[in-house]
């Protein structure tokens, strides 16, 4: 089954990102296809490579990057929500005249249409948030 995921809360403050991650892993193990994970609202903070949690804590950002690499996941960060919260890839930083970018490996920035499109293409769209 094709499953789309919407993550709408930031990591660490809320459990949503953890639950989404565990759900995605379990769905893959069961043979489902994760069509896309879309990050919206503060969920875009899942995509900053500047995250540096204490060593005895999970690294939520790296965890997504690794899972994406292993299973060729499409991790999409909403551009409008990302711009508000200071999440940028190299191109976007250039376009906006910023001197830094921080998008973690395995994520891409795109429009909200990607969320609606996931709703159209997927058999299920599961939201994790606060």
């Amino acid at each position: 089954m094709k499953i789309g995921i919407l993550v709408s809360e930031g990591p660490y403050t809320h459990q949503a990102s953890d639950t989404a991650y565990n759900f995605v892993k379990a769905a893959i193990e069961k043979g489902h296809e994760i069509y896309r994970v879309f990050f919206y609202h503060d969920g875009v903070n899942n995509a900053t490579r500047l995250t540096e949690p204490p060593r005895d804590d999970r690294n939520i950002v790296n965890r997504w990057s690794e899972l994406a690499k292993q299973h060729n996941l499409d991790l999409v960060v909403c551009i409008a929500a990302a711009q508000r919260r200071g999440i940028m890839d190299e191109n976007e930083a250039k376009r906006q005249g910023k001197n830094a970018d921080n998008l973690a490996e395995g994520f891409r920035i795109s429009g909200l249409g990607q969320l609606v499109e996931a709703g159209i293409q997927c058999d299920r769209l599961v939201t994790f948030g606060d």
């Binding site: 919407l6 709408s8 919206y40 609202h41 409008a80 929500a81 429009g111 909200l112 249409g113 969320l115 609606v116 499109e117 709703g119 159209i120 293409q121 769209l125 939201t127 948030g129």
Partner: protein
Amino acid sequence: MTDEMMDEEGVIKKFMFVNRKAPYGTIYALEGLEVVLISAAFEQDVSLAFVDDGVYELKKTQDTKALGQKNFSPTYRALEGYDIEKLYVERESMEMRGLTEDDLLVDVQVVSSAEMADLMAEQDVVISF
């Protein structure tokens, strides 16, 4: 506004956006509305549900000047031009908050909890803010 449009030819799903948060206190109402506006470009069967504090999004006479935030309540009146015309408000949520239809800034259909439950159950995709 963008110059490109994207259509998923042939597929029409029933999308419901469930608004449950008040405006300004958190960003959910505003960013939820942004998704709704984008969804219009995909020509799906879109409806909006306003339940719980979500009904406050539609309250008339919002004035955010002293807040320094943008007042996005007029944008709900633009939805009609986007062909998004199915706006449902749950009566119980509205009455619990001491509001009536006259307090709302757009035309809506006021429905009971049971009717809202049926509407929600018949959707293909439900996205909640």
